[in-house]
């Protein structure tokens, strides 16, 4: 049908400042999140050119990648890491950019605090120098990661030069079975379409299984969209979205709220809108998912076995799979549940929200972390931590032998002191199982918070439904 538009089309067209003759678009940016690792060179560029930040009121900064998760008042041990955080503090002061500093209870992982504060809103464009910016798409915000040169461009102009993306719809039908979560759902999608399956596309998630998810579950799904190669994931805003946003510090206030909701209700894709690619998946039969290799597409059911590299038909994949198995120290054909675990990490922008803390505590309750296993729980923000403590989750986890930490990116990418040691194997709720991602020589198995907690108490990858 002509004239019909997808959610992506609507947001894109609403943000066009200019379309050049060759089709390149100058796109307005409503929300810019900034952290310490990918911004220093951008601020330096501004300073060298004598430029200002155009819209500090649309910009929010927070240190997260390098921050210690033990004693928040202590100095950051690594000198370079400390300099990076101090540089962010100085840049925010010099350029008038609002920042949640280390001692602020609102500090946390950049993709946790945007939604938590109501900074992330439907129908907006959101960027950050971080690929997991895709998270914010859960609200129906066109949200994508950018490089540092683009960070500088947004700081200076509040716009970005972009070429239009293609529309892909992933329709997820069925009801998630017991023991399966949004994490299992998105791992199953990545397993199906591959890590380059979404390259060049925006993925709109639709279907009953998506509608049934909480906002936190939708964030987990959109967060990992980049692991399928798509820069952005989108979920159409609905009552779940509005209920989550109402009353948040930066959400529209009474009066404007009604007007905003009315506008947001016009955003969902029109009936009959065109998608360049469609994928459907029924999750009613899935079981908890685990990665066995060093690419997020290396997904297996917990009930399955480590695959034979020769079973892959895609060009280059048998070699890549064999290299993964060598690195991971696994043998093809072994049962996934026979894989023993040294470290458990529960946290990150993928699974560091309150529902994730509750899920981990639920499994940990009345159990003990297996001998020889080190298990970390790192809340995604100071406010998540505070709420978890009000609910007594910290006590449950501590009694079970988990460590209860301060918020930050932590062992997802090991830029602070939380890392997996060479040869150690980690069940992790984070988003990437790349070689060395969690520490040089470290081996990562991506799982849901429930599955991570289950691995912590048994010492091996475990089907949480069997506990």
């Amino acid at each position: 049908m002509s004239g019909t538009k997808t959610l992506f089309d609507k947001i894109w067209q609403n943000h066009l400042v200019e379309v050049q003759d060759d089709g390149t678009c100058l796109l307005y940016i409503d929300r810019h999140l900034v952290h310490e690792v990918t911004s220093p060179q951008a601020f330096e560029g501004l300073a060298n050119a004598g430029r200002k930040v155009r819209r500090p009121d649309l910009t929010l900064a927070v240190p997260d990648h390098n921050v210690p998760t033990t004693d928040r008042t202590a100095r950051i041990e690594s000198e370079e890491g400390r300099i990076q955080v101090e540089t962010l503090q100085k840049n925010c002061k010099d350029f008038g950019v609002p920042m949640f500093d280390l001692q602020d209870i609102r500090q946390g992982i950049v993709h946790i605090i945007g939604p938590e504060q109501g900074f992330t809103l439907p129908g907006t464009t959101t960027v950050c120098g971080d690929s997991h910016t895709a998270t914010h798409g859960a609200f129906g915000s066109l949200a994508f990661g950018i490089g540092t040169s683009e960070v500088e461009h947004v700081l200076a102009t509040q716009t970005l030069l972009q070429s239009p993306l293609k529309n892909m719809r992933v329709t997820v039908e069925g009801a998630l079975p017991n023991g399966c979560t949004a994490k299992d759902l998105v791992l199953a999608i990545i397993g199906k379409i591959g890590t380059a399956g979404g390259t060049g596309y925006v993925i709109e998630y639709a279907g009953k299984a998506i509608r049934d998810l909480t906002m936190e579950g939708r964030m987990t799904v959109c967060n990992m969209t980049i692991e399928a190669g798509a820069r952005a994931g989108l979920v159409a805003p609905d009552e779940t979205t509005f209920n989550y946003l109402m009353g948040r510090p930066m959400s529209p206030k009474a009066g404007a709220w009604e007007q905003a909701v009315e506008f947001w209700k016009t955003l969902p894709s029109d009936e009959g809108a065109f998608y360049d690619k469609e994928v459907t998946l029924d999750v009613s039969e899935i079981v908890p998912q685990v990665t066995w290799g060093t690419s997020p597409e290396d997904v297996a059911p917990i009930t399955g076995t480590v695959p034979m590299p020769t079973s892959f038909k895609v060009d280059g994949k048998p070699e890549a799979a064999q290299a993964s198995l060598d690195y991971m120290g696994l043998t093809a054909g072994m049962a996934i549940t026979d894989i023993t675990i040294d470290v458990v990490f529960i946290g990150s922008c993928t699974n560091g929200r309150i529902e994730d803390m509750r899920a981990a505590a639920e499994v940990a309750k009345g159990r003990k972390v297996a001998e020889g296993v080190r298990a970390l729980v790192v809340p995604g923000s100071g406010l998540v931590k505070e709420q978890a403590e009000q609910e007594g989750l910290d006590q449950i986890l501590l009694e079970a032998g988990f460590e209860w930490r301060d918020p930050g990116c932590s062992m997802c990418l090991a830029m602070n002191d939380d890392r997996v040691e060479p040869g150690q194997r980690c069940a992790s709720t984070s988003n990437r199982n790349f070689k060395g991602r969690q520490g040089f020589g470290g081996r990562t198995h991506l799982v849901s918070p429930e599955m991570a907690a289950a691995a912590a108490v048994t010492g091996h990858l475990t089907d949480v439904r069997d506990l």
């Binding site: 390149t24 910009t59 060395g436």
Partner: protein, 207 residues
């Protein structure tokens, strides 16, 4: 930005898929506040052992490829993290061009901002170029952005596609922030319109 018009240099073969930006520049080198100096840690965990000794099997450590200016690699190059440190590290090492069948979107954009030309070719073309690159000291390719061609060591020619606007910026080494700032009137009027239709968007971020 350094402009890119013609490039002749040794092409290093990396015959693997899904080369991610964590491989290109591991996280321990992201703690810098500068753009320069990352070349010595390009592909660090593949190039060196934990003691810092070179891994002789890694392509950029082989005598023929130490001065490589081009990388020829498998599908989905640059996937993962958005870190622009990846193209900064490539550039600092001396790599000005990467050839693959596909690139991750963010990495692809980041290359153009740094005077690096990422070239997409077909699977058949990649196989031929990979063969060329595997010839060691004779693995020289010549790239001409103006005519959008790659010349192989035997004189074979591959045509490639590139976005016109990006080509223009690269050929002239232009700073796109300066170009956008010339359009500030359009940004002003966009903001005026948006402020009228969605007044709840402005003025929110404060401490």
């Amino acid at each position: 930005m350094q402009k890119f018009d013609k490039l002749t240099g040794v092409a290093a073969p990396m015959n693997m898929i899904n080369v991610d930006t964590d491989m290109i520049i591991p996280k321990n080198f992201l703690k810098t506040i500068k753009r320069s100096g990352l070349g010595k840690n390009l592909f660090d965990e593949m190039r060196f052992d934990r003691e810092g000794n070179e891994n002789p099997d890694f392509v950029l450590n082989k005598p023929a490829y130490r001065e490589a200016k081009i990388i020829v690699a498998g599908d989905n190059f640059g996937c993962g993290s958005s870190r622009e440190h990846a193209p900064w590290a490539l550039l600092d090492f001396g790599i000005r061009c990467v050839i693959s069948t596909s690139f991750a979107d963010i990495f692809y954009n980041n290359c153009f901002k740094n005077g690096i030309l990422p070239i997409k070719v077909t699977k058949e073309q990649l196989d031929d170029l990979m063969d060329d690159a595997e010839r060691g000291a004779n693995a020289t390719l010549s790239i001409d952005l103006e005519s959008q061609t790659i010349q192989g060591p035997d004189g074979g020619e591959v045509k490639f596609e590139v976005d016109e606007f990006r080509k223009h910026l690269l050929l002239n080494g232009l700073d796109d922030i300066g170009l956008t700032l010339q359009k500030v009137d359009k940004v002003d009027s966009f903001e005026e319109r948006q402020n009228a239709s969605q007044p709840w968007l402005a003025g929110v971020a404060k401490v």
